[in-house]
Symmetry: C2
Subunit: 307 residues, 2 copies
C-alpha cells in the first residue's frame, strides 16, 4: 500500500465518480470503487468524464463488486448511493468499515444519517451535500454539466481533523469543498428548494421554467418553502429571511431545469421520496408543525410512484 489516503467509494454513480475522480487527479489519494452494474466496463476501461472544467479519465486503484472483496483499510468510505428504502447502506459497507474509518455521506435529503449512526456508532460520520449537475450516460461514461461543489461537516454538528483533511483532498482535485460546523442548517437550506421543486415537477410533469411561469404553481412553491422554513425553525435552524426570495430569483434566472426526481420519474427509476419529502412530513409530525401543502404533495407523489 502507498502512503496515500485510502478512499473507498460506494455507490459509484455519476456524483461519486465525478467527485472522487477529481480527487484522484489531485494525486493525494488511492480511490477504490464498489461497482456492480458497470463492473466489466470499468474494470477494462475505467471511467471517462466529460466536463466543461476539462474532460478526464479515472482509473480507480481497485474495483470491487462488494465491500468484502476490498482488501484495504479505508480512511474514508464515501457513500453516494441514492437514499431509497430498498438500499441498505450499512449492509453495503459493513465489511469494509474499520474503527478509524470515517464514513462520508454525499446524499440528498434529511435524517439520512440515522441508520449509519445506529449501525456504526463509534465511527466518525461526515455528512455532505453536493451541488452538481452530472449524469451517467452509459456504463463508465459520465457527463458533467453544471456546478460541482460540496458542503460538509461532522454529523450532527462541528468540524474535525478528518473533515479538514477531506476538504484538502477534494481541493487538491480542484473541487470547491466548504466545511461547515452546521451541516444540518445546510441540509435545511437545500431542502428549501428540493421539497417544492422535486415533487411538483413530477406531479405536474413540468420543468422549473414552467412551474415558475404559472402563478398558482409559484404560489404553491412559496407556500411549501414557508412550511420548510417554519419546520427548520422548529428544529432549531432559523434560515435567513431573504433566502426564499433569493432561491426563487435564482430559479427564475436559471435555464429550464428538470429536478433529479423528475429525471428519475421520466426514466422510470426509483425516486428519493422518503429522504426528501417523507422525512420532512415525519419531522413535522414530531415537532407539531402544520405542513398541509407538503403533506398534499407527499401523499400524491407516493401514490403516483406506486401506481
Amino acid at each position: 500500500m502507498s502512503d496515500k489516503t485510502r478512499i473507498l467509494l460506494c455507490g459509484a454513480g455519476a456524483v461519486g465518480v465525478y467527485f472522487c475522480g477529481r480527487m484522484a487527479q489531485g494525486g493525494m489519494v488511492d480511490v477504490s470503487v464498489l461497482c456492480r452494474s458497470d463492473y466489466d466496463v470499468v474494470k477494462e476501461k475505467g471511467y471517462h468524464v466529460s466536463s466543461p472544467a476539462g474532460d478526464f479519465d479515472f482509473h480507480p486503484a481497485g474495483i470491487y463488486r462488494s465491500a468484502a472483496e476490498y482488501p484495504g483499510d479505508a480512511d474514508y468510505i464515501i457513500v453516494t448511493s441514492k437514499v431509497l428504502p430498498e438500499v441498505d447502506v450499512p449492509a453495503m459497507i459493513r465489511a469494509a468499515v474499520r474503527p478509524h474509518t470515517a464514513i462520508v455521506l454525499i446524499q440528498n435529503g434529511i435524517e439520512i444519517e440515522k441508520t449509519i449512526v445506529s449501525a456504526f456508532p463509534d465511527n466518525e460520520l461526515i455528512s455532505s451535500i453536493a451541488y452538481i449537475g452530472v449524469t451517467r450516460t452509459a456504463p463508465g461514461m459520465i457527463v458533467h454539466t453544471d456546478s460541482g461543489k460540496l458542503k460538509f461537516g461532522v454529523f450532527p454538528n462541528g468540524i474535525s481533523a478528518k473533515a479538514d483533511k477531506l476538504a484538502q483532498l477534494f481541493s487538491s482535485g480542484k473541487i470547491v469543498a466548504t466545511i461547515t460546523p452546521e451541516i444540518m442548517r445546510a441540509r435545511w437550506e437545500k431542502l428549501l428548494w428540493n421539497v417544492p421543486f422535486n415533487p411538483i415537477s413530477v406531479l405536474t410533469q413540468s420543468d422549473t421554467a414552467r412551474i415558475m411561469a404559472d402563478p398558482e404553481c409559484l404560489q404553491l412553491v412559496r407556500s411549501v418553502m414557508l412550511e420548510v422554513a417554519a419546520l427548520a425553525d422548529a428544529d432549531g435552524w432559523t434560515l435567513p429571511e431573504t433566502l426564499i426570495d433569493e432561491l426563487l430569483e435564482f430559479t427564475r434566472n436559471f435555464p429550464p431545469y428538470k429536478p433529479s426526481m423528475y429525471v428519475d420519474f421520466l426514466n422510470k427509476r426509483p425516486m428519493e421520496i422518503e429522504a426528501i419529502v417523507g422525512n420532512v412530513v415525519r419531522i413535522a409530525e414530531r415537532l407539531h408543525v402544520s405542513v398541509p401543502h407538503i403533506f398534499s404533495i407527499y401523499a400524491m407523489l407516493k401514490r403516483l410512484a406506486g401506481a
Copy 2:
C-alpha cells in the same frame, strides 16, 4: 306543433342523451337536440342507448347544428355540456331562448350558474346535479352503466311550477328526479366527493380503490373533504357531520372507479378543473377560508393540464 312540452337539448353528450332519451320515452315531450360532431349519424339513425334498465333507441323530434336553426319555441332548454372556460353556453343557446323558456343546467361544479344569470336575467334557471355512469362509445352510441338520478331546484333556491313539471316529465321516463329547494346545498354535498377524488385520481393516476387503500392518500382525501365542508359552512350550508364518513364508506365498498376527470385525462380530453376545483379556491379566497390542501391540488392539476 303538438301539445307536448318542447325540450331543446344542448350539449348532446352521453348524460344529456340518456336523460332526455328516457324522458322522450315517457311520451309527454318533443325533444330536439343541438348536435355537431355526431350530426350525420344521429340524423340518419338516431341514438342507441344500451342500459341495464333496458336498451332503447332515441329519435329526436329535431336535430340541429345550432340554436338558430331550431324553429320551435322551447319550454325548457336543457344544457348538459361540460363546464369548460372555452365553452360559451350563452352564445350556444341564445338564439333559442324565449321569455318563457326555462334554462336547465345538468352540470358539475359550483358557481356554474353565474354566466347564465348574467346573460338571461329574466329567464327561470333550474340547476341540476346528475348521479350517473354513462359514456358515448361511438357517434350516436351511448352506454349507460350505473345509477341515473337527478336532483334539481330553482337557482339560487326554491321550487317552482316549471321545476315541478320537469320532475313529472323525467318521472314519465322512469328517471328518479328529486326536487330540492336547496340546490346549492346539494352542489356542496356533491363537491365533498368530487373535489378530492377527481383531481387526486388524475395527479396520482389511480382509481378510487387505490386511493382508498393508501393511508396517506386517504388522509389527504379526508383533509380536502374537511376543507370543502368548512367552506360550505362559511357559504351558509352546514353539511351533516356524518356525511364525510358515509361518503368514504360508500367509496370503500364501491368497485374500483375512475372519476370522470381521470377518464377525461386518460382520453386527453379537457377536464372540468375550474368548475369543480378552481371555483372552490376562489370562493375560499372570497370567504377567507383557508384551504391549503385544495389549493395544492388545484395548482398542480392546472399545471399538469397545461403541460
